[in-house]
């Protein structure tokens, strides 16, 4: 089936090139038949990409090691659950995933717009086909996922142990969905700029895709953070790693875009800004893919790198950046704003300020992330920067974003009177002041920025609660519905608004969790033996007993830790350190210990107010003697077995494998029967759960905002319907009421 997969990819590439040519010819010649044919070429490309992906994934699930990437990225001992997801742990598979996702999302976007924005679509199609051609071209010419070997190995190298985590089934597809969805608004923005159709039409047709990109990227980022927290064994969820930042930058940019397009839709303002933001977001999505796939910046999240792709990516990014600047400059006259701010105390003014802060945040993250490359270009040495370089800039900017996300919902569009403003602010400000005073006493004002973040978060949540309360009251006044029904119908009829409010509350809750867990975290490293204890943040951690298990694939050395507070038992944590065997046949035992892949399983007790977290780092030096002796004895046994005549060799090898497995189990049991001291990282963090809960709330709000509105009434008004000069529909009172309910 590898031939079929490869042929489908080539057909896909031909479809993409045809679609690009047909779309551009249709645009130039005004032939909508060519444009329609081009659109259908996208459907064909999506079909080919899905077919190729399915063939490859089946090869992974069936452990067909004749495929080179299956042999290098999977094994028969890899659980089937992870084998199905191993496809995107490889360079070739992840590029194919990109092609599949972009072609599927593009097909959906082009299908939904097949009878709309006809002047823009041909150029948007052209952009989407260009991106598809680029990525499928990489697959066909440089990173062929269907390369096979005539002499396949009997066993594969296995999936990287760090990727054997539930979130890895969803995290990469979510991030890639975010990146690929981001190209849809990008393509339509380019189409709008080329065709000169610069009203809010292109925004209306792509807003949902921008929102979906925001949602998918956000979920992907959070799943990555969760993986980092529970798998990597360093105790944190965000390390300001280049790959993490690569996803954060387009997410911040598209967050700004989702807000600022509302101003263009409602007021015809910020056209240059919106075009620039969406072009930047699309380019950042490609930069994000480049960072993940190229390995130009070292990252804990990058598992494959291929410098041969660097030139292609840099060329594409260069074209996107230069093309974007040229297009915006070319259309700067047509992008002039249609209106001006009526008042600085208005929702559009708040949105504008929030946009500036978000873009500043993106710029800071971009500059510091790429600083090592910039320093290398100038000085020849790559300087490494970490979290401390980000915090002085990111913390105050994040604080401003949170505060503005509370002000935005309680202020009206266009203008607002001082009396109304005062009325809207009384409850949130009072709640914030109460929270601030309480928190000053509770935290003793130990961390000012954390205190300010708690207060800003309280402001946002109370503002959102007030908005819901007022909305329900308003609906009840009009319809006399009971509160739960009024709430459900309020949200149902105003999904964008109330979905957005829920997102704001979720982000505020998440950032309260971040502020608390980073500022008030207690962390310590302790080297203790069984029966010994250490204390941290009022808890006593007792190393109760060591644990061990062994299979042909993995040795796991762990510990049971009892956590007590005073005389009260709090929990029992189980942590382990996994050593995965390499493929080196000359070291029957040492292949687990000498440069083998490792993973950590953390012991975690999560609660609504506190997480208790620990991980073991066992000292394996005391096993060195046994390992060397085992390698010598078993190495000789293997050679003897291989020298046996063919008729006896299978039986001899079977004995050898049994002896080897017994030896491995024996060595692992040594950790239990003759225990020695192990090192533990122990962390007690407050409110980490708030981060995950806030993210879930925000995702829920995003889904509500994304969900299609009920179909509006499409009946045209009677042709005779006159309008009074002030715009009232005098002969349609019932219909006018319908508009506002």
């Amino acid at each position: 089936m590898a031939v079929v997969g490869r042929t489908l990819l080539i057909f896909g590439l031909i479809s993409a090139i045809y679609g690009l040519c047909a779309s551009l010819y249709g645009a130039r010649a005004g032939g909508h038949v060519w444009v329609d044919s081009g659109r259908r070429a996208m459907y064909v490309l999506a079909g080919m990409a899905v077919g190729a992906f399915v063939i490859l994934d089946v090869a992974f699930v069936r452990s067909d090691f004749s495929y080179n990437i299956v042999a290098s990225g999977s094994s028969t001992t890899t659980p089937a659950f992870y084998r199905a997801a191993a496809i995107w742990s490889t360079q070739q598979g992840s590029l194919l995933l990109w092609v599949m996702l972009i072609s599927c999302w593009s097909s959906l976007a082009l299908f939904l717009t097949r009878r709309r924005v006809r002047e823009i679509v041909p150029y948007a199609q052209g952009v989407l086909f260009t991106l598809c051609t680029f990525f499928i071209g990489l697959n066909v010419f440089f990173a062929n996922p269907f390369a096979t070997s005539p002499n396949p190995p009997s066993e594969g190298a296995g999936l990287d142990p760090l990727l054997r985590h539930t979130t890895m089934m969803i995290h990469p597809p979510m991030l890639y969905s975010g990146y690929t969805l981001m190209t849809i608004p990008f393509a339509f923005a380019v189409g709008a700029l080329i065709s000169g159709r610069l009203s809010a039409e292109w925004i209306a047709v792509t807003r949902r895709f921008a929102l979906a990109a925001w949602l998918c990227l956000g979920i992907g980022i959070l799943l990555g953070a969760r993986w980092s927290y529970t798998e990597l064994g360093w105790g944190g969820y965000w390390a300001w790693d280049p790959v993490e930042n690569a996803a954060l930058m387009p997410w911040l940019c598209v967050t700004a875009f989702i807000h600022s397009i509302m101003i263009q839709e409602k007021r015809g303002m910020l056209k240059v800004w919106n075009a620039s933001l969406v072009l930047a977001s699309g380019t950042l999505a490609i930069i994000g893919t480049f960072l993940v796939r190229s390995g130009i910046l070292s990252s804990i999240h990058a598992f494959v790198s291929d410098p041969t792709l660097n030139f292609s990516f840099v060329a594409l990014i260069g074209v996107m950046v230069i093309g974007s600047v040229v297009l915006v400059m070319w259309r700067r006259e047509s992008l002039r704003t249609e209106a001006r701010l009526d008042s600085l105390i208005s929702r559009e003014a708040v949105f504008l300020f929030q946009n500036l802060v978000l873009v500043a945040l993106t710029a800071v993250v971009f500059w510091i992330t790429f600083f090592p490359l910039i320093s290398e270009a100038i000085t020849g040495t790559q300087v490494s920067v970490g979290a401390p370089a980000f915090r002085p800039f990111v913390v105050p900017l994040a604080l401003m974003v949170v505060l503005l996300s509370g002000i935005g919902p309680i202020i009206a569009w266009r203008r607002v009177t001082v009396a109304k403003l005062r009325r809207s602010f009384v409850f949130p400000v009072a709640a914030t002041l109460v929270a601030f005073v309480v928190l000053v006493f509770v935290t003793r004002a130990a961390h000012v920025f954390a205190l300010l973040m708690f207060s800003a978060g309280t402001f946002v949540v109370s503002a959102v609660v007030q908005e819901f309360y007022r909305g329900i009251r308003a609906r009840q006044a009009m319809t006399s519905e009971p509160p739960p029904v009024a709430l459900a119908r309020l949200v149902r009829r105003n999904r964008r608004r109330y979905g957005g409010y829920i997102v704001h509350a979720g982000v505020a809750v998440a950032l309260i969790g971040v502020a608390a867990s980073t500022s008030f975290q207690h962390s310590r490293t302790a080297t203790i033996g069984p029966g010994q204890s250490v204390t941290s943040d009022g808890y006593r951690f007792t190393y109760v007993r060591p644990t061990a298990s062994a299979t042909a694939e993995k040795i796991s050395l762990g510990a049971e830790i009892a956590v007590t507070s005073g005389s009260q038992r709090v929990t029992t944590l189980h942590t382990s350190y996994g050593l995965y065997a390499s493929q080196d046949p000359t070291q029957p035992i040492g292949r687990f210990f000498n440069g083998a892949s490792t993973e950590s399983r953390v012991g975690l007790k999560s609660g609504p107010f506190q997480d208790i977290w620990t991980v073991i780092n066992p000292n394996i030096t005391p096993l060195d003697g046994l390992v060397s002796r085992g390698d010598a004895v078993l190495g000789k046994a293997l050679n003897d077995a291989l020298r046996e005549p063919p008729a006896l060799r299978t039986r001899a090898l079977s004995f050898f494998y049994q002896a080897r497995d017994i030896a491995i189990r024996g060595i692992a049991q040594r950790f239990v029967t003759h225990p020695w001291k192990a090192t533990f990282l122990i962390i007690v963090s407050p409110l980490v759960t708030w981060l995950w809960m806030g993210a879930i709330i925000a995702a829920l709000g995003g889904l509500i905002a994304l969900w299609p509105l009920p179909p509006p009434r499409r009946r045209l008004p009677p042709r005779s319907s006159p309008a009074t000069p002030d715009g009232t529909l005098v002969d349609e009172p019932a219909r006018a009421r319908e508009l506002v309910k």
Binding site: V3, R116, V416, L716, G727, T728
Partner: protein, 96 residues
């Protein structure tokens, strides 16, 4: 190998059939297309204006807009909505 050849040929046949479909269909006139597009765009603009009117109403009832501000905002939004409806009427009249 036979199965692979059949799958590849079937994929190729489907691809050619799908991509060439517009050339086999009866072509509508360009003017008719433009009118249909214009109507679709105006309907989208009308729906967006309806949402804005509802938003302003909600702002009034939730205490964010004063009666005076609401009257000004609502008046201009309704005038814009009626303008769009007139354009829709005109476009619908010339629809073939």
């Amino acid at each position: 190998m036979l199965v692979a050849s059949v799958i590849v040929l079937a994929a190729l046949a489907v691809a050619v059939h799908v991509i060439s479909a517009p050339f086999r269909q009866e072509r509508s006139s360009r003017e008719a297309d433009q009118t249909a597009n214009r109507i679709a765009e105006l309907e989208a603009a009308r729906d967006a204006k309806y949402r804005e009117i509802r938003d302003a109403e909600l702002d009034l009832h939730t205490g964010k807009l004063s009666d005076q501000d609401y009257a000004a905002v609502d008046g201009s939004l309704r005038a814009e909505a009626i303008e769009i409806m007139h354009e829709l009427d005109a476009a619908a009249t010339i629809e073939p």
